[in-house]
Subunit: 281 residues, 2 copies
């Protein structure tokens, strides 16, 4: 497995692959891999000849009071895990390689980013779409792989790719969960033992949501109230948002119809976790 | 010469060229060609195997009170002129092809776009960088050609290409002028005979600027005052801005040193013309 730190190097590697007629899959990550990341890499390896994983904790998508400095990192472990699932190259640049002196260009999706995590984390999605555009331009993949756990991110990136005519396919894979249902996240390591138990309320309330919808409930207000009640009964859980919206436009709705997402963000102490379920009704 | 109206068609054309090992040059235009455009096309033809000209009056870069509806158009004449200089394909999409329902992604260069034309035309450069990003993604050229007449646009696009790691070379060619020095512009057709004579003050004041600098003047305030005086003595000329700035960062300066640009925007009735000179002192 190749490890490249400069744009010139990874471009050369991908250029050689492409010259040999190989297709390229990209898995953009911030590292500290878990089974969710590995699932994306395995799927990329299934679908493409060559898999490039980018490992970059992008400062542009963190707010000034967020966990950029604390974000968990373990480069050696990540490399071993990526090699074991057949990744061909890791691109892990330094900040000055990605954001040189005078950097001042940003890619922004409007509307879709005003709500949910965009409202809680101003500037977050601008950081995501800017870095992802750069990674797409650097690697020029045929396909790029993202997880549904970050559902809003996935919708924003799909919109960006469509709007800006980026010449690649975005593949979204289902959320990978722990045995007890907690969505895998690099941030789960922040949780105390008690918070880890409390955090199960995200999945539990999404399951209750799904069951209620399957039993015929269509009133968004009622469903939202039910999930909020479940979350607030857990003393350590502070809901950031509990929303039911139409997909892919993330418009509010009163009555469930068509594609819908139930999306949650909940704080446990300083740790903010997100989860969601997407259904067609 | 091929004429394509859909993204799928032009992509197919360029894909075939690329599969045959040909390099591709792109000349993005809003049509109503003059010698400035043709110079870009000829240079593209010199440097690349295949030349694609995009002809699209981009609504996103016009303000609500600007001349979008009046912008001069003559598609048949443009096609003849492009064919005569050896252009291989014209891509001329409809608005709904470029900005489909729900379009909401924008590319923005900050800082550089706050001044000069960016200050006079809010949103203009966001429209330019967004459409140029789309055209770059659609055509995927090796080189893209722009004129120095729109000097700020050229600097903004160069910054965007660098910041977002777009995989192409931006080529900037010198301003092409009428025999009497007026910078060629599709908007020159708006001018009455009298305004056309008055408009020579742009070039005249830039020549005076250059002569003064060559004779040793380094005081930006004095040079700016001299140009402003020359312009305001013409009754029909209303200066929009008269600036002397450092390039490529467009920072203000008091004493000329290094790369500098003198940039003018002047209104003649409803018609706003721009011109500039770039020097190294």
């Amino acid at each position: 497995m190749h490890i490249h730190r400069t744009i010139a190097e990874i471009r050369q590697f991908v250029g050689q692959c492409r010259a040999a007629g190989q297709t390229v899959g990209l898995v953009p990550t911030m590292g500290y891999f878990h089974e969710g990341h590995l699932t994306l890499m395995r799927e990329a390896k299934q679908k493409c000849d060559v898999v490039v994983v980018t490992l970059y904790v992008n400062p542009l998508q963190f707010g000034p009071k967020e966990d950029l400095a604390q974000y968990p990192r373990d480069f050696e472990r990540d490399c071993t895990m990526a090699r074991d699932v057949g990744v061909d190259a890791i691109f892990t640049p330094l900040d000055q390689e990605m954001y040189p002196q005078g950097f001042s260009t940003f890619v922004e999706v409007t509307g879709l980013t005003d709500i949910l995590c965009g409202q809680s984390r101003p500037g977050h999605f601008r950081g995501v779409t800017t870095v992802v555009t750069k990674l797409f331009n650097i690697v020029a993949p045929d396909q790029a792989f993202f997880g549904q756990k970050d559902a809003q991110q996935a919708l924003v990136i799909q919109r960006m790719v469509r709007d800006l005519n980026m010449n690649l396919e975005v593949v979204i894979l289902p959320t990978v969960r722990e045995h007890d249902g907690l969505a895998m996240s690099s941030r789960n390591v922040y949780l105390t033992e008690e918070q880890r138990r409390d955090a199960l309320v995200l999945y539990r309330s999404l399951c209750a949501f799904r069951a209620a919808v399957q039993q015929g409930e269509r009133d968004a207000g009622k469903l939202r109230g039910m999930m909020t009640d479940m979350i607030t009964t857990v003393p350590g859980a502070q809901p950031d948002y509990v929303e039911i919206l139409a997909v892919p436009d993330l418009q509010p709705l009163e009555t469930l119809q068509g594609g819908i997402i139930a999306a949650l963000a909940v704080r446990f102490g300083k740790t903010r976790l997100i989860d969601n379920v997407i259904m067609e009704v």
